[in-house]
Each structure stands twice: as structure tokens, then as C-alpha cells.
């Protein structure tokens, strides 16, 4: 999928000042802001009609919240990629959105360059890992290892943990690639795999939960 074909963006935020600033910056870079939504409800209503490629999602929006919207989008519109933005960086909310299928996470104070880079990568289906997110995901895997009942999803390889830790230490993919003597693309793949495995864990957990609750049709 090439860079120019996926430029339709939807913005979800309940702060008009943010919507204006983001719209201005994205349109200056050639993105097309096809829809804005101020609430989760609005987001889910406008999504099917406007066909965005990327949804830039604030986590703290009126019901349903950003993480829940991300869950629904990932389930019902798999070709729409979600990039999460949040002012507070509440660990649990961010992780819930990421596990549900968001491609990445930026704090709101991220620079314009970081935002544009993030939206571009998200549009292409790549993972957008900030140091903060890499740290959270690393911690999440560590927790899953210490809770055996959660075992069931795939574990991270030593190399993936190594790459993730370097991202968390603020190293750019280029620097990581140089230090590990691999290509930039290989680093990107490792990061991508980490995200994919985390989301797989989520699905394993959801399925197990469904089975335990007796709600699941096993043939499904």
C-alpha cells in the first residue's frame, strides 16, 4: 500500500482548539481530514460514511471512551488504523487501546513532526512506538510472564525485548539498526511483531473469557 493513497484522516477529540490545530497541520502536509467527531458516539456514527484510513483518537472523550471506540473500530473496520493521542497518558487506558488494536500512541504534546510521522506510519499500517509506549508494553509482557494463568499468547523473543528496551531508552530505529547490525526494516518488523503479539494476547484472553462465561460458540 503506498504512501499517497491512504491520506484520509478522521479526528476524534472533544477540544475544538485541538481539532483546529491538528486539522491545520495535517492539511498542510497533504492529508485530507474527512471527518471530525467530538464524542465516541459521533465517531462511531460518522465512521462508516466517511471511510477514513486513519483515525486519530483522543482517549478522554465523552462516552464511549477512546479505548472502547478503538476496540469497536478494530473489530468492525479492520482496514481503518487507529493512532491514539492522549494528554494524560493513563497507563491502563493506553494499554487497553493498544491491545484492542491501535497502531500507536502519542502524547498530545508531541511535536508537529512527530504527529505527521505518526499519522503517516499509521496510515501504512506500521506500529508507532514512542519510548513511553515501549516501556509500558515491556512492563505488560513482564506482568503476563509472572501471571501464569495469562499464558496462552505468544511470548516475546530475546531480540524483540532487546529492541523494545532500546526504543524505550529513546533510541531511533536507525540507531538501533546500526547497533544491532540489521536493517531499518528489520527493526520495524520486530516492533510490529511485538504489537501483533500483544493484540493476539488480547484475543486469546477475550476468547478464554468468552468460553468461561459460556457465551462462545466453540465452532465459531
Amino acid at each position: 500500500m503506498d504512501d499517497t493513497s491512504r491520506r484520509r484522516v478522521m479526528l476524534v477529540d472533544d477540544h475544538p482548539i485541538w481539532l483546529d490545530a491538528l486539522t491545520r497541520d495535517l492539511e498542510a502536509e497533504g492529508f485530507q481530514v474527512v471527518a471530525v467527531a467530538h464524542t465516541g458516539d459521533e465517531c462511531l456514527r460518522r465512521l462508516p460514511a466517511t471511510h477514513p484510513d486513519v483515525v486519530v483518537m483522543d482517549l478522554n472523550i465523552p462516552e464511549p471512551d477512546g479505548a472502547t471506540c478503538t476496540e469497536i473500530i478494530a473489530r468492525d473496520y479492520p482496514d481503518v488504523n487507529v493512532l491514539v493521542m492522549s494528554a494524560s497518558g493513563e497507563r491502563d487506558d493506553v494499554l487497553r487501546a493498544i491491545r484492542a488494536g491501535a497502531r500507536g500512541y502519542l502524547v498530545k504534546s508531541a511535536s508537529k513532526a512527530e504527529l505527521l510521522y505518526g499519522v503517516r506510519r499509521t496510515a501504512e499500517g506500521d506500529a508507532v512506538f514512542t519510548p513511553g509506549l515501549a516501556g509500558m508494553v515491556l512492563g505488560e509482557y513482564r506482568r503476563m510472564v509472572t501471571r501464569p494463568e495469562q499464558d496462552g499468547g505468544p511470548a516475546l523473543t530475546a531480540r524483540e525485548i532487546d529492541v523494545l528496551r532500546r526504543v524505550a531508552k529513546g533510541m531511533a530505529y536507525r540507531e538501533i539498526a546500526e547497533e544491532l547490525y540489521v536493517s531499518h526494516r528489520t527493526v520495524q518488523n520486530h516492533v510490529q511483531n511485538v504489537l501483533r503479539k500483544l493484540q493476539l494476547h488480547n484475543r486469546v484472553e477475550l476468547t478464554r473469557y468468552a468460553i468461561e462465561q459460556g457465551l462462545s460458540d466453540l465452532d465459531d
Binding site: 485541538w18 494528554a87 508537529k112 515491556l138 512492563g139 531508552k169
Partner: protein
């Protein structure tokens, strides 16, 4: 004797106070009963006493002082150290005067002029000041009663031994109750503080935090003045965010309680430093946390001084077994291999020595790696 000067410790809670009040109520009635018993016993042997007039005076003292103490102890400001000293003094005086006042009678019935009345002093001390005070005052009064009895009559020895055991036990129970109540009150205060913080957090999040983030983002493109505003906004945004995420509540009672190190380190987040954590919470020893925090502070200052004007830094906190690991990295000018060797050999001189020394003093370690043009990386390890 473990007695505290003030009437009521300033951090005593309402629940604690009501338990103490209940304890005093029991003690006051025990004192009345023991006083009535002592007066009755003394009345029966009044005629055989060596000095009946003095014994009558002691009986009056027992009655009057019991009533006075009963009135005093009903209210918290009557439970002062002075009242306790006078109470113990009177009880002791009654016991010690027995050989002279009672004479040969003491030899036959082995009961001092106080009979069991003086036990009330020890029990009341156990209620107000706990186990140690109760046990020690009980032992003192018991020993005095034993010493004045001229013969070692076994049942009376047993009675005198029972006194410290009883007052010590009551003191221990009071200590336990106080602890349980304090813990419960702390939990309640913590829950209330967190609920209030959540409420504030929602308000701040919807207003202040959004604007700070916007200033930080837009300011960078508005020239040097704008960049300055952006830096200020960034520092405040980070401080506010870590404040809102801070789940520790300072109740002001446990100064050396374990510290949440991630929140502590997140306060350093700012324009030049990105702080990332792997776990939600890492709770560690307060002293070691403080040293680690100070070491990080030194590294931040060092980056500002030596890494170059545009250097940025990243910090990652991890928990590795029972150790806290902090990775601190900057993308500044770095150090040549020679400089790294020199920094390591400098011992307790310079930044390396100061950070290493600080952490080694609390059982941790610090390791430095660097390459010219590639910044400096520190690995700090401290036991939890």
C-alpha cells in the same frame, strides 16, 4: 517508664480517642470497686492496726483520690503526665507506709493498706500509655508490695506477680487496638484523598492539561520566545501529569514508608528528558529511593552542563527481580574511550564517582558506557 508529655498525641484520631475513652471508663469503675474493697478490708482490721488514725486517713485518701481521678480521667485534658505521676506517687506511698501504719496485722493477712486499690494506677497507665508503661508500673507496685510484706507468703507473691501480668496484658491489648484503628483510619484517609484527586484530575485534564500541551506543541514554531513558553509549559505539563498519576498519599504518620520510585522519577520529565516506565508501580525503600532520585538529578544536571546545547535525554525505569534498574541515556557529544576510562578511574571524584558512590552506599551500582558523538548511557541498579 514510657510516658509521653502531651495529653493526647497530635496525630491521635477520633476513633483512637473513642477507644481510649472507653478504656478509661472501665478503668475508672475498676478503681471505684477496688477502692470500696480496700476500704472494707481496712475497716475490718482497723482496730488491730498499729496506728488506726493513720489507717483511717489512708482510707479517706483512697476514697477522695479515686473520686478526683475518676472525674479527671473522664476528660482527655485530665489525663496529663502530672496526674499520672501523682496517681502513681499516692499508690506507692500507700503501699510503702503499710508496715508502719498496719504493724503486725500486715504479717498475718499479707495485704498492704492499699489492698488491691493501687492496681488501678497500673491499669490506668496501661490504658493511656500502652504495654511498656503498664508492665513497668505494675512491676514497680508489685515489687513494693512484696518488699513491705515481712514474710514470703506464697499466695501474696502470686497476687503481686499477677498485677504486672494483668496491667501488661491490658496495655498490649490497647496497643493492638490503637494500631488496628490507626491502620483503618489511614486506609480511609487514603481512599478519600484518592477520590478527591480523581475528581481534580478530570477537571485539570479537560482544561489546563490540554492548553499546556497545546502551548508546548505550537510554541516551538513561534521563534525563541515561543520556544521558551513551550519549555515552561512542558515542564509544568509533566509536573501536573505526574501529580495526577501519583497514587501515593502522604498521611504524615509514616515518614519512612516505602516510596513509589516511578512517580518520583517522572517528576524530572521535561523538555529535555523523556521518562518511561515499564511497571505501573515500583515500591521501594524510602532511603534508597531518595539516593536513586538524587543520582538521577545529578545525571540531568550533568547532561545540561556537558552533553551539548541540543542534547536530549531518556530515562527508563524497570524492575528486575528485587532490583530497580534505571537506564539513563543522552544523545549528546558523548565521551571518547579514553575519557570513559579516566572517568571510571577517577574514583570518587567527579560525576562518575559521585553517582557511583551514592548508589554503592545503599548497596547499588552504577555503570557508564559512552562513545564519542553517541551520547552517554548509564545503568543504575539499586536493591528495592
Amino acid at each position: 517508664m514510657m510516658v509521653r508529655g502531651e495529653v493526647r498525641s497530635p496525630d491521635e484520631t477520633d476513633a483512637e480517642a473513642s477507644i481510649v475513652d472507653a478504656g478509661y471508663w472501665v478503668v475508672i469503675w475498676i478503681r471505684y470497686l477496688l477502692a470500696a474493697h480496700a476500704v472494707l478490708i481496712n475497716a475490718f482490721r482497723w482496730r488491730q492496726a498499729a496506728h488506726p488514725a493513720l489507717l483511717a486517713a489512708i482510707m479517706v485518701v483512697i476514697i477522695v483520690w479515686s473520686i478526683v481521678v475518676g472525674r479527671l480521667q473522664r476528660r482527655p485534658d485530665g489525663r496529663s503526665l502530672l496526674a499520672i505521676r501523682v496517681d502513681l506517687g499516692i499508690a506507692m506511698a500507700v503501699v510503702l507506709s503499710s508496715p508502719y501504719v498496719l504493724g503486725p496485722v500486715l504479717r498475718t493477712d499479707h495485704l498492704t493498706a492499699g489492698v488491691y486499690w493501687m492496681f488501678a494506677s497500673a491499669i490506668s497507665l496501661a490504658v493511656s500509655r500502652g504495654f511498656r508503661a503498664g508492665l513497668l508500673s505494675g512491676l514497680a507496685l508489685g515489687a513494693a508490695a512484696l518488699l513491705v510484706a515481712p514474710t514470703w507468703y506464697l499466695p501474696s507473691v502470686a497476687e503481686d506477680l499477677a498485677l504486672p501480668v494483668a496491667s501488661g496484658t491490658i496495655g498490649m491489648m490497647m496497643d493492638g487496638l490503637r494500631r488496628a484503628i490507626t491502620e483503618r483510619d489511614i486506609q480511609r484517609a487514603r481512599a478519600a484523598a484518592l477520590a478527591e484527586r480523581d475528581r481534580l484530575s478530570r477537571i485539570v485534564h479537560d482544561g489546563t492539561l490540554q492548553v499546556l500541551a497545546l502551548v508546548e506543541r505550537e510554541g516551538r514554531d513561534l521563534g525563541p520566545e515561543g520556544a521558551r513558553l513551550a519549555r515552561l509549559a512542558s515542564a509544568q505539563e509533566a509536573a501536573l501529569r505526574s501529580l495526577l498519576q501519583d497514587r501515593t498519599v502522604d498521611i504524615g504518620r509514616h515518614d519512612a514508608s516505602p516510596t513509589e520510585i516511578t512517580v518520583m522519577l517522572e517528576r524530572h520529565q521535561g523538555a529535555g528528558l523523556t521518562v518511561s516506565t515499564t511497571s505501573g508501580e515500583i515500591v521501594m525503600d524510602a532511603r534508597r529511593a531518595r539516593e536513586l532520585d538524587l543520582a538521577v538529578q545529578e545525571l540531568i544536571t550533568n547532561v545540561a552542563k556537558h552533553a551539548g546545547p541540543d542534547a536530549r535525554a531518556w530515562l527508563l525505569v524497570e524492575q528486575d527481580g528485587d532490583e530497580v534498574v534505571v537506564w539513563f541515556r543522552d544523545d549528546g557529544v558523548g565521551m571518547s574511550e579514553e575519557q570513559v576510562v579516566r572517568a571510571r578511574e577517577a574514583g570518587h571524584m567527579g560525576i562518575s564517582g559521585s553517582v557511583t558512590g551514592r548508589l554503592e552506599a545503599v548497596g547499588g551500582s552504577a555503570r557508564l558506557t559512552s562513545r564519542a558523538g553517541r551520547g552517554v548511557e548509564w545503568e543504575l541498579r539499586v536493591p528495592m
